[in-house]
Point group: C2
Chain length 366, copies 2
């Protein structure tokens, strides 16, 4: 449970951005939530304060040794004018797994969701309403001790910032081509690939730029050991439908366990779609694309929900998938998940949680 959150409201609220030009992660709400960790006090002093720069010693360990983890989730405006979160406890659990891998102190169960609800409560008029838009929520934790020895920091800062974001695809799903990266790798067994840590992202930017140059929207990462099995696409999990069966790479220690990935798997099982998580070689996939049995491929993640793949570029050749069209299953998954998120489809799975704390009254002492 989160202890009492101190709230200091801004005296100069910002002008809200044009809801039709939100983009992603460019605008931030009026407030942020901060909480400190020290070895003596543990996590303490949760507070909501006006969005403002962080002040950190130049020797703060986050700048030098990379103890930094984050999460990403969204608050959705529902048809009835409410607001809800999608599976926030799975983000909270993954955050704790990330914290453990990076030798950082974990949060008590419930704290992350309550902190998010408290912050969304203060800035709820920032949740955009148009279809496809949402309020992106970014909790992150960084090492703050000012000391240059290579060891775990003794102090940390949790911050939550929020950004109203636009539709990922304007006017419906759009398949994109992806480039199989032949040289660089995202992560390896025994490394940090299964943690949502800053370390996993900067190393992929070079390959991402190469993909763009090759006319592709994303990198398809192969495993580091054999450079044979697919792992993730960009920073999303990836699924393939071959001959009516759906596959995704099995979690092997170097793949991030996506929240959307989990929801997709639950839907496939509920819908009695044949589904298997197993190693998938790039050879198998391009062969299936070439002989027409690769019926659909798509990435899954919080930003896009479902991102259809129109073709795979490998060894200089483009292997189109489903004629570059959105597959039936991709569309159904997208409609179902976004429908549940927006309260248009009944949430029979119990995936949604109010975005604004029902305990608001409790906190006020009622």
């Amino acid at each position: 449970m989160l202890s009492n959150v101190r709230i200091e409201r801004t005296e100069s609220p910002k002008t809200k951005p044009n809801p039709e030009k939100l983009g992603f992660g460019q605008y931030f709400t009026d407030h942020m939530l901060l909480m400190d960790y020290s070895a003596e006090q543990g996590w303490h002093d949760p507070r909501i304060v006006p969005y403002a720069p962080l002040t950190l010693d130049p020797a703060a360990m986050v700048f030098h040794y990379g103890q930094a983890v984050f999460e990403g989730l969204k608050a959705y405006r529902t048809a009835e004018g409410g607001a809800q979160l999608f599976l926030p406890e799975r983000n909270a659990k993954r955050l704790n797994r990330s914290l453990e891998r990076m030798s950082m102190p974990k949060l008590e169960p419930g704290v992350l969701t309550e902190a998010i609800q408290a912050l969304v409560g203060v800035d709820q008029d920032w949740i955009p309403e148009a279809e496809g838009t949402s309020l992106y929520i970014r909790p992150f934790i960084i090492a703050t001790e000012a000391m240059l020895g290579v060891r775990a920091s003794s102090s940390y800062l949790l911050a939550i910032v929020m950004s109203p974001v636009g539709a990922y695809f304007d006017g419906g799903l759009k398949p994109v081509d992806i480039l199989v990266e032949p040289h660089d790798v995202r992560a390896v067994r025994g490394g940090t690939g299964a943690a949502k840590t800053a370390a996993n992202y900067a190393g992929g930017l070079k390959a991402q730029a190469a993909a763009k140059e090759a006319g592709c929207a994303q990198v398809l990462w192969l495993d580091a050991l054999e450079r044979k099995y697919v792992e993730e696409v960009g920073s999303m999990n990836v699924f393939f439908r071959i001959d009516g069966q759906v596959y995704t790479p099995v979690l092997n220690g170097s793949i991030l366990e996506g929240v959307t990935r989990g929801a997709v798997i639950e839907l496939l099982e509920d819908w009695d779609v044949m589904f298997t998580a197993r190693p998938l070689s790039i050879q198998e996939l391009v062969q299936a694309a070439a002989n027409g049995t690769l019926e659909e491929a798509f990435g899954t993640g919080t930003a896009a929900v479902i991102s259809p793949i129109g073709g795979i570029r490998w060894n200089g050749q483009l292997y189109p998938i489903n004629g570059g069209q959105v597959g039936e299953l991709s569309q159904k998954l997208y409609d179902t998940i976004t429908g549940i998120q927006r309260g248009m489809v009944r949430d029979v799975y119990g995936w949604t949680v109010p975005a604004v704390a029902e305990q608001e009254e409790l906190r006020a002492g009622v």
Copy 2:
């Protein structure tokens, strides 16, 4: 070349720490050097200002996606009362290689060394004098754009901070035991292991804690692909003398190219010691330790220069090396390199550079 450096001196100099209790990276000098990068202006506005916290937007990309590289080198007080740097241009070249790998903008040749010299010039009374002490210099570059999309930042900050540091070993070299890490890995071919980036350090803290628990001072990292070949020890390169021949792991894309490693190799070649850089399996090393042909082993790095290894713990067994004593070659390398650094041994290799700019006068307009 570095353009004119603006200097703003502190009005409240700090009390200097007790020179006998410096430790490592705990105290910082009165000033720091900052320089900004923007897409429009490139690197600009180098300035020396009082040491103070950095102010960064909570959405600054360094906190989220890990674009952060650094270097570490030292200024040494010489016997004649001067001060010198050790091979700073190699740090500058490695910094540029790191920047390239992490999709960050490079520095012009000469700029890093000149920036360091300018800053040491301002804080030169912070260089400690006692044997084994020095002024540790930490240049680092971080992504500052406030935006949550996963792409390269459009703005960066270069900062250089300096810390007077104590002797790594009190009263001479002390061999330490090291633990072969069986599960976690530091880096992999195609990843970021050859770059000096924050990403490579936090992931190793868990293994480092496990080493400590096993009574070892450091982790001996194995390669990620086969978990068979040694790569680095802690955050140092590693050397072994077997039957009179010296070996170090060959640079394979996942090993950092250490400046001290390079100096050691040059000395070995100059001294006509048989030397080879090649893959070294842990099996070969513990066998050599068991049959007594592993005569010496040591780590190399800026902090310790030479760190002798007294024993290797692998699969629950400790393999002592050289009876836990400092080897002859280890001692000779340590004495030679530290002697050159302190101006006690003639620098026939041209490794040292004045720590305070001779161009100070030029800059002042003389």
